[in-house]
Structure formats: structure tokens, C-alpha cells
């Protein structure tokens, strides 16, 4: 059963189109995350679903019914805002019960529902406090509680964790995931933190400039990004993009050169047009430091994270330094010359338009 369906949704602010035709479906119980760079229209799209922003064109269907012109409170959705947006003059209990009160739910029934939600979130002892007397994490819980109490068809979250410190964010991330399992509710979650997206989502919607770039499970986006943008956006540290010149093409097999003495041959490459310049995408953990590796370069910067060492190397290919992720600790310092080898099982080839044309290469010589 389809819970939410977006059909070519568009939104313009005074002639300037911000959401440019977005279509996808969210099925019941799914946890969908919108990611994308700042200003790409994630919040706008979420607010259109919530009913806070008018829909310029397209259709929004909720359980099969068109809800474009239904008021926000009648859509049966609940939203958790980035700033929590608690009512400062009401106690936690009044905050959580406000929607029920406006809906005319009786006092005892209201109290029962609020207490039930408070128990789930472990904030029963805070019910009589005002928001001003709560910590950031507690406010966050109250805001989530306010959504739970309404028993909505879909939960909407707009960067709910971005105001919390790193440790609390990790904790709330786990709690939200647990909450999703417990409530089995449909959730749509906006973030620009790709760790949040990767860890919590059933499916991720990657947006750029008001358009959907790719929709899929976290690992499918990581393993099979459809284009340069998704490849660069998903995964941290970022994928390395190396310019590769096309030497020759024979059906699906192409021969590329990374540098004068590094060549590779790749099979099963889709049509790339007549262009000569392709892009090779290699994740940092697929490049290794090897004394006799085919690529050589000078170390620019070493970032030691303890469990992982990030080595930025100027390999003379392309304009950006190559990032190498080494599991564990590695004794190397800036200025040293190192050799690099590329593990070719997980590399991607992109056409000049940015489309991915092949992966899992069979190189002849690297």
C-alpha cells in the first residue's frame, strides 16, 4: 500500500523555480531521507508535503487522495522542526497535548496519550516544566513527543539533530531509528549530514537544485551512484575524481590513460559519445600506499583519526589532490614522496556529462 505519492511536484517563489518536478513514492512504514547540498530545496519539498508551502504544480497524494489543497492539520502529518518550535508559555504536557486540545479531545484522554508518548521518550519527569528549563536534547524529545501524540500518518523531520552536539546527535540518531522500529511509522527526514542519511534511511533521495538525482537504498547509492554528483555527495571522505583520456574504443571495451605511463582497459562501457575526456571515480579506501605503485606523488597533508589515516597526495593527475584512506595508523608525513596503487574492483567511470558508464573495471596495467 502506497502511503505518500509525489507526482511532478513544483514550487516557484516569485518566478524562481526552486523545486523543479519531483516524483517518487514513499510506502507505508518506510524511513526516507532527503539529502542534498544547502539550498537544493529539501526543506521546501518537505514543507510542501507538510502543507506549509503551497504547491505550485503537480500532485501530492496521501493514501491515494489528492491533498494539495488540504490544510496542514487536516493532512494527518506531524512535523519536527529544526529549532524545535516549542510553545514557550506552555508546559511540556501542554505543548504535547496542544493539537489534541484544539481537536477537542477530552482532558483525561489527552493526558493518557501525552503520558504514553512521554514514556516512549523517557521524559515523564519533565511534563510540568516549561521549554526554557530544558536542555537541547530534552527539547528535541518534547518536539518529537508532540509529533508522536498526534499519531500521524507520516512524520516529517527537518534537520532535527543539527542543533545538538556530536555525542548527543549519535545518541538521538539511534533513538530515532529505534523509535521508527517501535512505531512502525512512515518517516521523511531532511538532513545534509550524509552519515545521518546512511545510518537511518531505508531509502535516500538525493536532491540537487530542485531535482532528484537518484533514489535508492544507502548502499546502492554508495555502490552504484548514477552520476558524478551522487558519487561525490555520498561517502565520506569524498570519492576521488581522476581525469582519464580516451585512447581507443572497440565496442564496449575502451582504453584509457591516467597519465603517460598509466593505462587501463575497461570492458562493458556504455556509449560515451565522441568525447575524449572521461572521469574515473575511485573511493579513498580503494587507493593504497604502495612503494612501487604506478602512481607517484608528494604527500600534502596527513589527517590522523586514530582508526583511520587520511593521506592527501598530489599525484599530478587532475587539479585536486588524491585522498587515500588507510585503515589504522600509518607513519607518513607531509612532504614525503609515496607510490599509490588503485584497487580496481570498485572504480567508476563517468562520461563527460557526468553519467556513470561503467564500474568494476578490468585494467590491463595499473
Amino acid at each position: 500500500m502506497v502511503s505518500l505519492k509525489l507526482r511532478d511536484l513544483r514550487k516557484s517563489f516569485g518566478g524562481f523555480e526552486v523545486v523543479k518536478g519531483v516524483s517518487f513514492e514513499v510506502s507505508e512504514g518506510e524511513f526516507v531521507v532527503f539529502v542534498g547540498p544547502s539550498g537544493c530545496g529539501k526543506s521546501t519539498l518537505l514543507r510542501m508535503i507538510a502543507g506549509l508551502e503551497e504547491i505550485t504544480a503537480g500532485e501530492l497524494l496521501l493514501d491515494g487522495a489528492r491533498v494539495n489543497d488540504v490544510a496542514p492539520d487536516r493532512r494527518g502529518l506531524a512535523m519536527v522542526f529544526q529549532s524545535y518550535a516549542l510553545y514557550p508559555h506552555m508546559t511540556v504536557e501542554q505543548n504535547m497535548g496542544f493539537a489534541l486540545r484544539l481537536a477537542g479531545v477530552g482532558k483525561s484522554e489527552r493526558r493518557r496519550k501525552v503520558e504514553q508518548a512521554a514514556r516512549i521518550l523517557q521524559i515523564e519527569n519533565l511534563l510540568n516544566r516549561k521549554p526554557a528549563n530544558l536542555s537541547g536534547g530534552q527539547r528535541q524529545r518534547v518536539a518529537i513527543g508532540r509529533a508522536i501524540v498526534r499519531n500521524p500518518k507520516v512524520f516529517l523531520f527537518d534537520e532535527p539533530l543539527s542543533n545538538l552536539d556530536a555525542a548527543l546527535r549519535v545518541q538521538m540518531r539511534m533513538e530515532l531509528a529505534a523509535l521508527h522500529r517501535e512505531l512502525k511509522g512512515t518517516m521523511i527526514y531532511v538532513t545534509h549530514d550524509q552519515v545521518e542519511a546512511m545510518t537511518m534511511a531505508d531509502r535516500i533521495v538525493v536532491l540537487r537544485e530542485g531535482l532528484v538525482e537518484q533514489i535508492g537504498s544507502p548502499l546502492s547509492l554508495y555502490n552504484e551512484p548514477v552520476n558524478l554528483f551522487v558519487a561525490g555527495f555520498i561517502g565520506s571522505p569524498k570519492m576521488n575524481f581522476l581525469p582519464a583520456g580516451l585512447l581507443s574504443r572497440d565496442g564496449g571495451r575502451v582504453e584509457l590513460s591516467l597519465s603517460p605511463d598509466v593505462r587501463l582497459t575497461i570492458d562493458d562501457v556504455a556509449e560515451t559519445g565522441s568525447a575524449q575526456a572521461l572521469t574515473l571515480g575511485v573511493r579513498p579506501d580503494m587507493i593504497h600506499v604502495a612503494d612501487h605503485g604506478p602512481l607517484r606523488g608528494q604527500v600534502l597533508l596527513v589527517e590522523r583519526l586514530g582508526n583511520e589515516t587520511l593521506i592527501h597526495v598530489d599525484a599530478g593527475i587532475g587539479s585536486e589532490p588524491v585522498t587515500v584512506s588507510h585503515q589504522g595508523q600509518y607513519a607518513v608525513s607531509a612532504g614525503e614522496a609515496v607510490g599509490l596503487s588503485i584497487d580496481t574492483r570498485r572504480i567508476h567511470l563517468f562520461s563527460p556529462s557526468g553519467r556513470r558508464v561503467a564500474r568494476g573495471l578490468q585494467p590491463t596495467q595499473v
Binding site: 502543507g51 506549509l52 492539520d73 512535523m79 510553545y87 514557550p88 508532540r146
Partner: protein, 296 residues
């Protein structure tokens, strides 16, 4: 004092007393001298008609004043005027603030215009209302009434205190609008949106979200307005001269009449002290209700 000990405890060992003394003594002189002189005059039998026959009479001025029904009428008039204008100007101010919070074409010019009455001098405002708007023959209101086939209202004879209240409200509503508009603009947009998602709209939204947010600012407006409204004078002098009868004689106007029409300095000073007491009582109740609102 507290500040003094504090700076001794933490700051450099400079004696701040002598430095503050000039300002403090000026302030004390400024307040105490007129008050003391008023109290002194209020114990004298002192009429400008018989400037040589000044004598000390103790509290008999007060006794006489308390027995004068004009005092009680004037206090009732003062409180009705202050209370009525407070309620009306805050109600109108809140309404206008909510209206002008929305953006519409020409909003900035409209905001400017709505504040304009505040800058019109009281005498001018009163004269405009008296002669151009409320005049039973030439006034605009009378014109409207006649064109609707109704008998024109003779505002200053049939509704004198109300008429003055309307003029003063016209002058002070912009002030309330200005302060409340600033306050309303600080209302968190996400909070409004959360309330909308919770099902609040129109009046419920106003009552549950906007009004509580404005409570503090309304308190401030009430306090400031009360201080100025207690001493409303020019509007009364220009329009009704305290009449008809004593229908619009407020305490300040009564003092003026006693001092400058009856030339009775002693009695006028007594009235002045009464005004100070009244202002303090009003201030006390205002501050108490407001601070209770702020705590909750």
C-alpha cells in the same frame, strides 16, 4: 549602595561615591524639592487673591478636599479616561499590529501612516477632532450621519468623556501599534508553523500563540501609557474645558482650575499631592498585575 560594595569587592579600589554624588544630588533636588514645596503649600491657606493672608492650616485643606464631591468626580473621570483609553488603544494596537505584520503591497507606507497620529501635538489633534470631525454642524461625522438620515451626534455635549477618550485613543493607539508590531515580529516563524500543523488557525492561533507572546509587550505599553494618560490635559482644555458641568474634569484639570481659575495655591497643591498618590496607586496595581503575568 550595592553597586558601590560590589565595585569595592571586585573592581579597582576607587571610591565611586564622590563621582556619583553630583548626579545623585541633582536627581534628589530635582525630585524632592518640588515635592517638598508642594507638600508645604498644601498645608497653607494661600490664595493669590489675598497674597498677604497666608497662614498655616495643617491638614484642613485635605479635609476640605476630601469632602468636596468634585474631587471624587475628578478621580472617577481620570480613572475612566485612563482605563478606557488603555483598553481601547491596546486593543486597536494589537489588531493593527497583527494586520501590519502581514506583508501586502504598500505595507511600509501604511505602517508609516498608522504611526503618524502619534506625532501630532495634543492641542492640534484635539482641535482637528473638535472642529473638523466631531462638530455637530460642520463635522465629518455629522455629515455622514445626515447623509444616512440619522440625527448628528453632538459629541462634546452628549458624550463628553467618551469623545475625549476617542481623541486620546487616536493619539496613543499608534504607540501601542508600534511597540506591539515590533514584538510580534520577534515571534518565531517555525512556532507559528508548528501551531498551524497542530490545527491552530485564525482566532485560536491568535489566542494560543500570538497573544501569550505579546503579553510582555502589552504590559510595557500599559505601563508607559498609564503614566502619560494620568496627566492628560491639553485635549480637555481645548475641547470641553472640563465640562459640561464637571463631566470631563479630571484630576489634573481640577488642579489647573483650582490654581489658575480660583487662584487657590494651597488647595491646588493639595490636589497635586492627591494626584501623586493616585498615580502611585495605579502604578502599584499595574506593576503587580503585569509582573504576575510575566512570571506565569
Amino acid at each position: 549602595m550595592a553597586k558601590d560594595t560590589q565595585s569595592k569587592a571586585r573592581g579597582p579600589a576607587v571610591r565611586t561615591g564622590p563621582l556619583m554624588a553630583p548626579a545623585v544630588s541633582l536627581l534628589v533636588l530635582w525630585m524632592i524639592v518640588p515635592l517638598a514645596m508642594t507638600i508645604y503649600f498644601s498645608t497653607l491657606r494661600y490664595s493669590l487673591l489675598q497674597p498677604d493672608a497666608v497662614s498655616f492650616v495643617g491638614i484642613s485643606n485635605y479635609i476640605f478636599f476630601f469632602q468636596d464631591p468634585a474631587l471624587w468626580t475628578s478621580i472617577v473621570n481620570t480613572l475612566s479616561l485612563v482605563g478606557g483609553v488603555l483598553v481601547a488603544s491596546i486593543a486597536i494596537g494589537t489588531l493593527l499590529a497583527v494586520v501590519f505584520y502581514e506583508t501586502f503591497p504598500g505595507a511600509s507606507i501604511a505602517r508609516l501612516l498608522v504611526v503618524a497620529p502619534f506625532f501630532v501635538m495634543p492641542t492640534v489633534a484635539a482641535l482637528i477632532w473638535k472642529n473638523l470631525l466631531m462638530h455637530p454642524v460642520n463635522g465629518l461625522f455629522a455629515f455622514f450621519a445626515r447623509s444616512l438620515g440619522l440625527p448628528p451626534v453632538d459629541w462634546f455635549s452628549s458624550l463628553p468623556l467618551t469623545s475625549i477618550g476617542i481623541i486620546v485613543t487616536w493619539q496613543w493607539a499608534p504607540f501601542a501599534t508600534l511597540i506591539l508590531l515590533t514584538a510580534i515580529q520577534s515571534l518565531d516563524r517555525e512556532q507559528l508553523e508548528a501551531a498551524r500543523m497542530d490545527g491552530a488557525r485564525g482566532l485560536t492561533l491568535f489566542y494560543h500563540i500570538t497573544l501569550p507572546h505579546l503579553a510582555r509587550a502589552i504590559g510595557v505599553v500599559a505601563m508607559i501609557e498609564a503614566i502619560f494618560l494620568l496627566s492628560i490635559f491639553a485635549e480637555i482644555l481645548v475641547t470641553t474645558n472640563g465640562g459640561p458641568g464637571s463631566a470631563t474634569t479630571t484630576l489634573p484639570y481640577l488642579i489647573y482650575k483650582t490654581a489658575l481659575l480660583d487662584f487657590n495655591v494651597g488647595m491646588a497643591s493639595t490636589g497635586g499631592i492627591m494626584a501623586v498618590v493616585l498615580a502611585n496607586i495605579v502604578g502599584f496595581f499595574l506593576i503587580r498585575t503585569i509582573s504576575r503575568n510575566l512570571d506565569s
